[in-house]
Symmetry: C2
Subunit: 156 residues, 2 copies
Amino acid sequence: MKLKQFALVGFGLLVATSAFAQQKAEDLIKTRQGAYKVIAWNVGRIKTNVEGQFNKDEVLKAATAIQALANSGLGALYAPGTDKGVGYHETAAKPEIFDPNNKKIGEVAGNFNKEANELAKVAAGGDKEAVKVQLGKLQQACKACHDDFRKEDHRH
Amino acid sequence: MKLKQFALVGFGLLVATSAFAQQKAEDLIKTRQGAYKVIAWNVGRIKTNVEGQFNKDEVLKAATAIQALANSGLGALYAPGTDKGVGYHETAAKPEIFDPNNKKIGEVAGNFNKEANELAKVAAGGDKEAVKVQLGKLQQACKACHDDFRKEDHRH
């Protein structure tokens, strides 16, 4: 193969690799946006229940979904290359969340998991007031992360 | 209040109600698109594990997330008014899925839940081959619904 041909093939591979990487990043961003959308839906369902008629079964289903998503390893959706870009919409993640030296990330993520696990436990008990209190704690955990790591101009 | 004023207020309320209903429908469509995106991500993670190095812990987390979403009551995301429209993208749901007399819906949905519950059980066992077989059954359940109720030109 002549050098020029070799260079062209090399360039072609580079473009293909880059396009693949971009598609993969877009897919990860979509998935994390989808995950938070589903979490928000389930938080909303529990909120409706604690503010009105309480359906223990629906609350438990919603809390179990939040718990499973929280524990599923959402951190993998913040892979390198996903710090900028468009999934379903422009990412609302701040650059700070991609800084491996930022210790606050583990703290807010761990706290979210803790409160989500506790909410599932409390939901299994079926006590409306207890669920209300624990939902508040989960929402505080969500807010703590949003305050530090989500851009103000986010859209869902 | 004069009749004309009354009519105008009425018209204003109608527009507001209609805008609210449309926003709510858009939100439900986004949530269901997000839910299937997250399910697909977790199916993909398990697929990678059964085709390569098997990480029992990751497989169990992914299977638990699929199970919790399958059991969370996704049917509520197909509320009246969500048969047409744009969430993150144009809905790929066929009109048939909104037909309350279509008995196939309960069948495919029930089968998806059954296979998702079984996958979580098998994943807890940690046997790679057994997970591979059960993942295949879950994927068949996904396909059965897609064949009947998802438009060909869907996008994720």
